[in-house]
């Protein structure tokens, strides 16, 4: 299904938030990974069969401006609180992926009344010396996101559309998205969220991907142990961008938890 991008302005003079919204059912806020979104993605399409999926570009990613206005997690929480108000949603299921999972966790810790159930997929924001993880910001420039796939060759079909995407434009966009991610995650992906996770009261599912080189599966237990009652799931044959590699499975795991 073609879904048109929408735009909403949160405050007078602030750059508009660009977002997708489609589907029937309870609202589901979809917070994307460090490298943005490939438009309206197949995993969103799948989820939209059962939910009212709302997928914004974070400030500074894709066509959304406003990176200068957010400096930390609190700014992002307030941004999304205002965004939910602006799109008329009181509380939502929240699916956060990667850096989006960090924002989702902050939102659930600080604004618990806005989050009904929470899925944290490949969550970024805690650095553990022994769990480690590759540096997503120190990758060969023209293949910066290859490390985010279980099979780097999948980037060719999923991001570069088998040659249909202009490599220079894609490079410029990837650098822009990763710059925005770096603003919050440089030089180590430790956002300090760990100390706030005990405040999360929404039922929570932590999902890791078996072949995630950025957030290795060992982080699953670390996040789970800090959130009371959290459960865990794992995705096979998937790297950090499991949403692109296996969209149906990604959507099924999250959707099943929200429908529970």
């Amino acid at each position: 299904m073609e879904v048109e991008i929408k735009s909403v302005t949160l405050r007078p003079g602030s750059p508009p938030v660009q977002y997708y919204r489609a589907g029937q059912g309870e609202p589901l806020l979809y917070l994307h990974h460090i490298a943005g979104m490939q438009g309206w993605e197949p995993a969103m399409e799948e989820l939209s069969k059962r939910f009212d999926v709302i997928a914004p570009y974070h400030p500074g990613w894709g066509p959304s401006g406003g990176l200068d206005e957010v400096d930390n997690g609190l700014d992002l929480v307030l941004h999304y609180t205002d965004f939910l108000d602006a799109v008329g949603v009181g509380s939502a299921y929240v699916l956060g992926h990667s850096l989006g999972a960090w924002i989702a966790a902050e939102l659930a810790a600080i604004m618990p009344q806005r989050v009904r159930r929470l899925v944290l997929a490949a969550p970024v924001g805690i650095w553990d010396e022994s769990a480690g993880g590759e540096d997503p910001f120190a990758q060969p420039p023209m293949a910066a996101t290859a490390v985010l796939f279980a099979d780097p060759a999948r980037r060719q079909s999923l991001v570069l559309k088998d040659g249909a995407a202009d490599p220079l434009e894609n490079y410029v966009q990837e650098m822009k998205d990763l710059k925005a991610a770096a603003k919050f995650l440089w030089p180590l992906p430790d956002t300090g969220v760990a100390k706030r996770l005990s405040r999360v009261s929404a039922p929570t599912l932590v999902v890791t991907a078996e072949r995630d080189r950025f957030i290795p599966p060992a982080y699953g237990a670390i996040w789970q142990s800090r959130i009371g009652g959290a459960t865990r799931a794992s995705l096979d044959d998937a790297g950090h961008l499991a949403n692109l590699e296996h969209p149906a499975e990604f959507a099924r795991v999250a959707g099943a938890f929200f429908s529970n």
Binding site: L67, D135, F137, A138, Q139, P140, P141, A144, Y171, V172, E174, M175, K176, D177, L178, K179, A180, A181, A182, K183, W186, P187
Partner: protein, 414 residues
């Protein structure tokens, strides 16, 4: 025309299989390759070479800042400048420079440069590099998303710290200081000349042109590849309606002078190959952190300075190709004079950083090449920009007011 003698201070004992066994000379280069006892001799040799160049009549001696880098052993360039300030008397101390975005608070830079200006009697050139991505983002951990904004704020704070005679407070985005009041203050008023070493950022041209700073293009790709960037700078100056002055522009060039072209190739080229093959072996993932280059620079299609060199550059090229393509200015004194005149005129620069110590070149060879340049090349190029006034060199105290450092003496046994 002015000539400055520059030493990157490379570690000369990287193994033959360095490229095969190691992914990068920078950031995650294996520290086990470094022998500090050799390092002791190397530092002293390199500092001797800088002092030697000062004696031979070069206008300035230059040092710069790198971190976790096996070809640039000066993480603290101010330390090197300090020893040169005491051991030289009549050359510019070209500190090119301190990466001002990395100092927290950057009043540290204002203080140390003021100290150097006072110790040297007003001979300091203050270089304000952004620094490479390898140095600033990866080795020093500075955030690439805000590096350039931090650079700008730190620049503004340092300038005011030098110029404002009153105590002031600074409420910036990156620095909050209740009392800014540096002691000492520089001899040169309002401040030492500011030179901006640039890699390939288009924004740097505007910054230099707007502020009347010297634009110093540092690359190892040679003058033929440097043409586009130097032209870009001169064009911006012209577009802003400012007068052309060659002394506002500087360029770094690797140079070898020998008695004959054959000697240059046979005796010296191996050291340039060491540099191109081992010292420029940088893992491409460290060349350009996301946000380090602005979108405008990426779109302008300019290669990150070392990444570009590392990817293509002089690697595997013959001596003749390296000279023909400008990676090296090399040959006998007549040939080097001719090449340098061409370089100076095509780039329209009034200052050149002569990179005469290259790779693992031993001291004696470097001294010979440096002497030939000073005695047989430099005098024939001095006149090139007669008629232009150099506003970008230090205004030192007159000789009569310069202090005379005491000579080094060994311990007297009583």
């Amino acid at each position: 025309m002015k000539f400055h003698w520059f030493n990157l201070m490379p570690y000369p004992y990287l193994p033959d299989d360095f490229r095969q066994k190691h992914r990068s000379v920078w950031v995650d280069v294996d520290s086990r390759l470094y022998d500090p006892v050799e390092g002791h001799r190397i530092y002293n040799d390199y500092l001797d070479l800088l002092e030697f160049a000062a004696e031979l009549g070069f206008d300035g001696v230059g040092v710069n800042e790198h971190h976790a880098n096996a070809y640039g052993l000066m993480p603290s360039p101010a330390l090197m400048a300090a020893t040169l300030a005491r051991r030289t008397r009549d050359v510019s101390i070209v500190l090119l420079g301190m990466s001002i975005a990395l100092y927290n608070p950057p009043t540290r830079v204002a203080e140390e440069m003021a100290m150097l200006d006072v110790i040297s009697g007003g001979r300091l050139i203050a270089g304000f590099p952004v620094g490479t991505s390898m140095d600033t983002n990866y080795a020093f951990g500075s955030n690439p998303a805000t590096l350039r904004e931090r650079y700008q704020e730190n620049h503004d704070l340092i300038l005011r710290a030098w110029a404002d005679p009153d105590v002031f407070s600074w409420n910036g985005r990156f620095n909050k200081l209740r009392y800014v009041n540096i002691w000492p203050r520089p001899i040169q008023k309002p401040h030492p000349p500011i030179w901006i070493p640039g890699g390939g950022s288009v924004e740097t041209w505007d910054f230099c042109a707007e502020n009347d700073y010297n634009y110093s293009y540092l690359s190892f790709s040679g003058y033929k590849r440097g043409q586009q960037l130097m032209d870009g700078f001169h064009t911006r100056v012209e577009e802003m309606g400012k007068p052309f002055n060659p002394y506002q522009a500087a360029f770094a060039q690797q140079i070898v002078v020998a008695d004959s072209d054959a000697e240059a190739e046979e005796s010296y080229f191996q050291h340039a190959r060491y540099f191109f093959e081992r010292c420029l072996h940088v893992y491409p993932g460290f060349a350009d952190a996301p946000g380090y280059r602005t979108e405008a620079t990426i779109r302008a299609g300019l290669k990150a300075q070392v990444g570009g060199v590392s990817a293509g550059g002089a690697l595997g090229k013959s001596y003749r190709e390296c000279v023909d393509e400008g990676f090296l200015v090399s040959g006998d004194p007549d040939s080097v004079t001719e090449q340098m005149e061409h370089l100076i005129k095509t780039l329209r620069i009034g200052h050149v950083f002569t990179l005469m110590h290259i790779g693992d070149m031993p001291r004696e060879k470097c001294e010979k090449s440096t002497r030939l340049f000073a005695e047989k090349v430099m005098p024939r190029l001095r006149h090139l920009w007669d008629g232009y006034e150099d506003h970008w060199s230090p205004k030192a105290l007159p000789q009569s007011r310069l202090a005379e450092p005491r000579a080094i003496r060994t311990r007297v046994t009583v």
